[in-house]
């Protein structure tokens, strides 16, 4: 019976260690590597093998183009307005007959997104009236300078589609392609700024000279209105 004492003591130690392993943080922590040692490893091989992101992932922005190469962005600043982090800077400007960047009167002369501010929330995408701004799946755009995180228009603008010229286009060429983005009467951006300003009296504008609705001279004159086909 003299063995009974030590045996009971050992039993008590085993029970206590078992309880400690299961109930204390330390114990559970030590148990985890013990268990993992028995499992298959699952290391991600980034950056050699980047994993696909979810389809609606909010990555770096992109400024899209129409098929003919014109920019969809009209420089309206609605994205900048919607941005809760004030990360977007847009400067609008006036398309002219010689240099047309986008359909209509207005285009973005400058467009910048500051990724040190952007929280990639996507509110700008929702605000964009022309679907010019979308988000890509690119998330690899860190930088070790602040300046390096400011993306300018040339970095954000999608390349011109195959066969389409880069912007700016001549207004005449756009019309010759059959695009009249206004769907109405020909639009003449005014010669702004002093010198080349046409006096209003030189324009066909008053009284009954504009009887409406205008019938297009041929079907082609109407062209395709910019749709929201991506929607």
């Amino acid at each position: 019976m003299e063995f009974l004492g030590p045996i009971l003591f050992l039993l008590l130690v085993v029970v206590l260690v078992g309880i400690a392993l299961n109930t204390t943080v330390l114990g559970r922590g030590m148990a985890m590597p013990l268990r993992q040692m028995l499992k298959k490893p699952s290391t991600s091989q980034y950056p050699e093998q980047p994993r696909p992101v979810t389809p609606r992932f909010h990555g770096r922005h992109q400024l899209n183009r129409y098929d003919d190469g014109l920019e969809k962005c009209i420089g309206c600043e609605l994205c900048a307005w919607a941005c809760p982090a004030d990360a977007i800077y847009v400067q609008g400007a006036n398309n002219t007959l010689e240099a047309r960047w986008s359909p209509g009167e207005r285009y973005a002369e400058d467009y910048q997104i500051n990724y040190s501010r952007c929280i990639l929330c996507g509110l700008c995408i929702e605000a964009c009236p022309t679907r010019a701004l979308t988000m890509t799946h690119d998330y690899e755009f860190s930088s070790d300078t602040r300046r390096g995180l400011v993306y300018t228009k040339d970095m954000l603008l999608a390349p011109a589609p195959e066969g389409a010229p880069d912007t700016p286009h001549r207004d005449k060429d756009v019309r010759e392609r059959g695009h009249n983005y206004y769907g109405g009467k020909a639009v003449s951006p005014p010669g702004l700024h002093g010198g080349d300003h046409l006096p209003a009296t030189a324009r066909t504008m008053s009284r009954a000279s504009q009887v409406l609705p205008m019938a297009p001279e041929s079907e082609a004159d109407w062209g395709d209105a910019p749709g929201r086909e991506e929607d």
Binding site: I74, C76, W81, E105, P190, T201, M205, S206, R207, L212
Partner: protein, 821 residues
Amino acid sequence: MTDTVTLTIDGKEITVPKGTLLIRAAEQLGTIIPRFCDHPLLDPVGACRQCIVEVEGQRKPMTACTTEAADGWVVNTHLTSDVARTAQEGQLEFLLINHPLDCPMCDKGGECPLQDQAMAHGNHHSRFVDEKRKYDKPVAVSAQVLLDRERCVLCARCTRFSDQVSGDPFIELFERGALEQVAIYEDEPYESYFSGNVIQICPVGALTSTSYRFKARPFDLRSTPSVCDGCSAGCSQTVQARRGQVERQLARTNMAVNEMWNCDKGRFGYGHLTADTRLTSPLVRSDDDGEEPVAADWATALTRVRSILAPDGEVVPTAVLSGGRLPDEDAYVAGKFARTVLGTDDVDFRTRFAPASEGDALAALAGRDTATYDDVEQAGVVLTVGLDPEEEVPILYLRLRKAWRNTKARLVSVGASSGSLAELLWRRLPTDVGAEAAVLDDLARALDRDGDDADQSSPMVAEVADALGSVDRPVVLVGERAGDGALAAAGRLADALGGKVAWVPRRSNARGALDQGLAAGLLPGLRRHDDDTQRAEVAAAWGLDELPTRGRDLHEILTLAGKGKIKVLYLLGVDLVRDVADQRLVDKALRRATVITHDIVANATTAHADVVLPVTASQERAGTRTNWEGRRQQFRPGVAGPQLVQHDWEILVQVTGMLGHDLGFTDLDGIRADMAALAPIDTTPDWPAAADRSDTAAAADDGDDTLTADVYPLLLDNGVHQVNAPDLAATAHDPHLRLHPDDAAPLGVSDGDEVTVTGGKAELTLPVRVTPDQAAGTVFVPANSTAPDQVDNPRHLGDRVTVAAVASGSATADQPVEVNA
């Protein structure tokens, strides 16, 4: 009969004066009824139908903006009435049927009443499925105003403004129904000095501005309340800047001054802030003369200033000329600087050669309760003397026009011309240039005689005198061009009538410079140099034993500088080459004297200067400005300005320090405290007595063959503050001469012909307008409108000039034809 009516709006009772419109009564209760066409300063039209409310007992819903409140009415707005709400929603749906909804492109987006009200009161769905109305986008109504007819809601605010307020009815509504559109008359361009206002009041983006086109959105802009420095009207304005650059200026409501309007010069004239010719660093001419001054740092420039002002430790004879740009604080500092540091009273804020008597008259004026805009509006009879309000102080013109239109005020002009005011005049008392005082004295005499049968004055004078006597508080407005004694004569006349007088200078702060004593003989706080006690007061405040002896005026200063008696000309924003009429005098003075100048933009005078110190523009600084009424208005900086520029007062404080003195302040508050110590004294000096004019009257009519030049600048001219604003420049009125038919007939010229004026060696050829509004014997010559390098115009007000028709193919007119004045 009571003068008030009591009615109930949305269950709340309110008592308003009879004649109050429902929309105004509702505003008093805090209920904003949606509206587009309603504007508090335009006559009601009820064009947009947006403000519909329901009135119990009336057959149909009514437009609140055209309906006067009546006693006992029970009115229900959209807040309490389904009928009103449905009507408003329906109306918005109608308005949006033909609206292009191109808000993203539209410059009004973000500050558009149509957007706001569509959100607040609209039905969010449209049932309209057909093709929308389409027009050219946009059409240039003028170089400055673009019209997008698709966006117009036909509220007629713009056309009513042009018709009722500015009187340039070039914009009109044409056509009817769906085709109704805003347009201009084919053969008359929309030429208005007030065109920017139609952009501001258009409740949609139908009228937009060329200079602000696609520049910014409202949330980009930092708005700062400011005061325009374009002229002495003193309009309140809002300066809006994006990324440290002014992108737009708007009229700010100030019912006492500019109401809700401003002029295009004030609105669009901010290009000089960023012009290529903007001075952004000090310029110093190297010692060997002849070179253009070159850029230097401030230390070099200020050291140079010290060595110019005090080469051997003693200050050399210097004169300070300031023009009318300096704000009150800087004018005060300049005056103190001249008297205490430079030890001279040779200061002048004027750029014209004033008659010697003007100083006394101005001193008498400054102490008085002078006329205000409200006085002008209420006067009933307003006499303008030597003043063309539309070209000189445009907002005063609008107020005169308002008085003419709303209260049938009788406007009388005395002088050689009154420009576009002519259309509104009741009577015209033409005089030779500078001879206004005689007519004013005649008027005073005619009043005196009061029905005496032996009246020798002309019937017209008697008639005007009667009119002046028939109202309680007539107003006499004296322009700065008015001749010798005119201001004093006007003052005496106004006093005799119990009316009010005002002096209406052109430059923005000429009145402030006057109040700060920036002319020889005048001292701050309405004190006078020739009053021993007052002089001692100023000397004590400035820590001097005695102020310098009374100084000289511009003409004498320039003459002395030309003779080498005054060694240094210290210029504070005055372009002598352009602004002063006598070029030979200026030329000699600039050649002989050493010139130090503070300026914003490079100009003809800075090229002659030895040291050019760049200063901040009005939009870049704080200060106070005094308009022609004598009203002081403070302004704050809207943008920071170029890095190296300083305020005028800052530079003067530093120069003072370099000369071993102390002005006693180093910031704006310090200056204001210093000024407060010399607060205006209570004084009403007498007007100088009338001069005996019997000999001058005879001299004026000596029957020679010349005309008198009536020279003054048009509102938009070649002024350096209008550089880099091409759209504004494109709306400048064509420079022209004006002749009386009696003078034009012997020359064989008619309206539109080219005519040459010759005065001395200078000559100028321009088209002529033949109009009886120009006094016979005088010819109007625009001062600063021709090519910038052509500074050699006949520019001296009152010069005798000959006028000749330009040979136009036919051989008849190649000899100058002399005129009998």
